[in-house]
């Protein structure tokens, strides 16, 4: 499946991924409205890990063996059989945070407002998630690493 792969060596720590993630999950999908006019500001589902000079964005890895799904007590987290994505059903989520406990990437984010969690949804069917398409430096790649010609085929050393 296509995943968001990260290239920390070219992540510049601009946080545009976070910003556009907010836009992607806003109501209007308009950056100015999302930040300045929407009543409830959406939250980013990507975290920029930052300890200068090292920076890189990290979000749900959509694991093939998703610990979060296994740990979810409500069935709110599940793997979409067709796409392999890890989907979070906010309606079902009770905010037990078992997923927070087990996610090895810290990729599940506590939504303090709703006392639930939120996570990367790969922008639900966009050809490229916002964080990838808006990354100014190619530090995020949306690709199937297992596929032939995928980015992992030829590590660029």
């Amino acid at each position: 499946m296509e995943r968001i792969l990260i290239k920390p060596e070219v992540c510049i720590g601009c946080h545009l991924c976070e910003i556009w993630c907010v836009v992607a999950h806003s109501q209007t999908k308009d950056i100015i409205k999302a930040f300045l006019h929407e009543k409830v500001k959406a939250s980013a589902r990507v975290i920029v890990e930052e300890k200068l000079p090292v920076t890189f964005a990290l979000q749900c890895r959509h694991c093939a063996e998703p610990d979060c799904v296994f740990a979810c007590i409500s069935g709110a987290l599940y793997m979409d059989a067709a796409s392999g994505r890890i989907v979070h059903d906010s309606e079902k989520c009770v905010g037990c945070y078992s997923c927070v406990l087990v996610c090895p990437y810290g990729g599940i984010i506590i939504d303090r407002e709703n006392k639930k969690v939120i996570k990367c949804d790969l922008c639900q069917g966009l050809e490229n998630p916002y964080c990838v398409s808006r990354c100014p430096n190619g530090a995020l790649v949306y690709a199937d690493p297992e596929k032939k010609g995928g980015v992992m085929d030829e590590p660029n050393v």
Binding site: R61, C96, Y97, V141
Partner: protein, 436 residues
């Protein structure tokens, strides 16, 4: 001819779901039977307190969509208790005398509530807190209740207490040990919790238990061993669960506290597997074999069993106690040896407490590696700590950073960080040129 299934699972909760979903991912064809004494679609027992407190409705209790059995082509035999297993014939006998022949069998029978030896338990408005029926009964009884005693200050007891308190009842929690949640958290957290419950109007009574139950047909109060009398119109028994092993025992499976299984979830009998609250597994962190009655553990055990039942070769890897809890506004996460503080066996405790912020962190280290942790208050990205634990990473170079509220992969030294993340990142566009 008795119905014959390639796979049979007894139980209808996390373990069974893990098993069935794994089976179906490996074997699309094999027939599967699911036997459950409860006549309900699979639901999450862990959600009972959420239901009770009113956060979710009944619909949301269901763990999988309504068509789950059909979608997975599972023959669900619900409301039928399995009463006997014949491992030689590979048959399960149901309460209705039907025999189900199986190729491989999973016992996911779960646990049963511990009931204290007290007189008067037959009165009305005395409940356990384990399954849907319990909760539905409690809910019915709530209407006429104002005061409730919860016996047991463990996880279930406290969750029940919080839920009942939020439903407007005056709640008393009676705990035999010196503090609440004693087997799960350390003294400091117990104190935090007790204070928290008290702030929210819940009485916590420790070092005590019920000696007598007052009342006629219904409970009207309890008398504690120290003589204190607490009037109440409801009593919830929440002292914990014990593995349900009678089926296994009858079938001649080896049992200690739970059904003994190996890393492949195989019992002592061929083609019979067990997982979840009824099974006894190896805690790789504590280094002992024990029952770990936790939802994720059951589900994962089911997956491993399912894999092996379908001819795969999975073994359980890193396994230990892990818990995510919240009481009122306090979030708690524990993992591993969270209570052991015995420094004489080479354990080092790193602790930081900020009482006013209800912030607490404790890391128990052995040879620089995390073997246990408790986080209270700030639990964001706790999984990273667990990942450090799981990967047996040496954290001694950055122990100070562990207490950072925003702890993340950035806090981890570069080399270790990329080791932990390597599956999902691409390194090497620019040659590392690293200093090593």
């Amino acid at each position: 001819m008795n119905p014959t299934f390639d796979y049979a699972v007894i139980g209808n909760s996390a373990g069974s779901m893990g098993c069935i979903e794994m089976l179906r991912s490996l074997d699309g064809r094999g027939s599967i039977a699911l036997i459950s004494e409860e006549a309900r679609h699979v639901y999450s027992r862990a959600l009972l307190p959420y239901y009770l407190v009113g956060k979710i409705d009944l619909e949301k209790m269901y763990y999988r969509p309504p068509d789950f059995y059909e979608q997975n082509r599972v023959t669900a035999i619900l409301g039928q208790k399995a009463v006997q297993i014949d491992p030689d014939k590979k048959e399960a006998l149901l309460a209705n005398q039907e025999r189900i022949a199986y190729g491989k069998l999973l016992l996911a029978t779960g646990g049963q509530p511990l009931i204290p030896p007290i007189n008067g338990l037959d009165k009305k408005k005395i409940f356990t807190f384990l399954n849907m029926n319990d909760v539905l009964e409690i809910e019915k009884a709530l209407v006429n209740s104002r005061r409730v005693v919860v016996l047991g200050g463990g996880v279930i007891g406290l969750m029940a207490a919080e839920a009942l308190s939020k439903r407007g009842l005056k709640v008393y929690v009676i705990e035999l040990a010196g503090r609440v949640l004693a087997p799960v958290v350390d003294e400091a957290v117990s104190q935090l919790l007790e204070a928290l419950f008290r702030e929210n109007g819940v009485e916590i009574i420790t070092k005590n238990t019920i000696a007598e139950i007052n009342g006629g047909s219904s409970v009207t109060g309890v008398v504690l061993t120290d003589g204190t009398e607490i009037p109440c119109d409801m009593l919830v028994l929440a002292m914990g669960v014990a593995p349900r092993v009678e089926l296994a025992s009858q079938a001649g499976l080896k049992i200690d506290r739970g059904i003994l299984v190996n890393g492949r979830m195989e019992t002592s009998q061929a083609d019979i597997y067990a997982c979840g609250d009824c099974a006894q597994v190896y805690d790789t962190v504590a280094g002992v074999s024990k029952v770990i009655p936790l939802w994720p553990n059951a589900y994962l055990g089911g997956r491993i069993a399912g894999s092996n039942m379908a001819g795969g070769g999975r073994e359980s890897g890193w396994t230990t106690n892990m818990n995510s809890m919240h009481f009122f506004d306090l979030y708690l996460i524990t993992a591993g040896l969270n209570v052991s503080t015995d420094e004489s066996v080479g354990l080092v405790n790193l602790v930081r407490l900020v009482k006013e912020q209800k912030y607490y962190r404790k890391f128990i280290l052995r040879e620089g590696r995390i073997v246990g942790l408790i986080l209270a208050g700030k639990i964001s990205r706790a999984g990273i700590f667990v990942n450090l634990m799981r990967s047996r990473a040496d954290v001694s170079p950055f122990t100070g950073d562990l207490f950072n509220e925003d702890f993340g992969y950035w806090s981890i030294p570069e080399k270790l960080r990329w080791e932990l993340l390597k599956e999902h990142i691409i390194l090497g566009v620019v040659d590392g040129n690293d200093r090593t």
